[in-house]
Amino acid sequence: MSRRHEEPEAVFESEADRVTAGLPLDSWSEIALAARPELVSIARRVVRDHSEAEDVVDEAIARLAATIDDGGAIDSIVGWLHRAALRIAVDRARAWIRRQRETWRYDVAQSSARRSAVDPSAALDSVETRERLWCAILELPERQRDAVVLRQLEGLTYAAVADRLGIEEGTARGHVHAARASLRKTLWDLTEGGDR
């Protein structure tokens, strides 16, 4: 079932570049433009394709423009954009996975004959486990997912994660900690049959 995008709440706190609603067009667009490289980098971690990451960010910026045009109150342009871009990116990644199912099944059939010719352990170690982990990240609760993407995949500090998500640093740590625990369990359940 396809999930619709949900617009992030329009109010954020603890943002260094907090701006008020009613910002002139050139001001908010300048902020968005300045944030764009980081947003594209983060979106690429999720959709894992640079061109689509750029599309994700452009869509987030377009939504921001529409929200401002509609008179929506936004305390943090950068925070709003991060959350919107992450949501759009996750939805696109899920959609891509759904589209690829049949292709992947075909790959299995085609590759089964080749499997004996490769070292399955080494090959799967570097591809399959990573792909499973990617899916598991996409299915984490939203705040955990966003925090782990920013911290673990993008490599931001906890302070920066908190800033981008509009939350306290301690809360960001908690989300990352919970996400790590969940992902470790997922990996073990997938590979060990959850027998511990």
Partner: protein, 177 residues
Amino acid sequence: MIDERFELLCQKHLDGEATETERDELKQTIATDSAARRRFDEFVALEGLLFEVGNTDRTDDRRRAAVGASHFDSELADRGRESIPDEEDAVMSGTWMSSLAGAAALALIIWWGIPETPTSTHDSHMCQSKEISTPLVETLEVAALSEGLRAIVQDTEDPLIQFIWITETFPRKEATE
């Protein structure tokens, strides 16, 4: 003993925030408790895998097709695993354990310090221009080494042999400086 404090220490260590005392405590624990060692290995393995996830292009179809990257397709997208053939389950089980063997080696490298090596692909500009944490930079360098290390170390299941091999090959940073 694996408890909340132990897991917190693992996380602090991987975040580069553990004090020397905490590192010693962690080191002592994993040296004397195999379950704790295994849990620590899980932390390190996950760290490496997360790094790889964040640096992989989804359109790398050649590699995917080569190994039949497949059975993860619907299981998480729909929040429900489809049945996985026994053969693949068995492969995956072995895979994860192999990953742990590699992770053990990686953990030791992190523990002993990252050697200066011409094989490192780390771009030092990354950590200067962005808010990137030291552990991630270390992980980046470890990742550059991991493939070759795994190929060698995963054939050896004895942790002591792995430990000796790693420490002999990569002495502590301060010892070489």
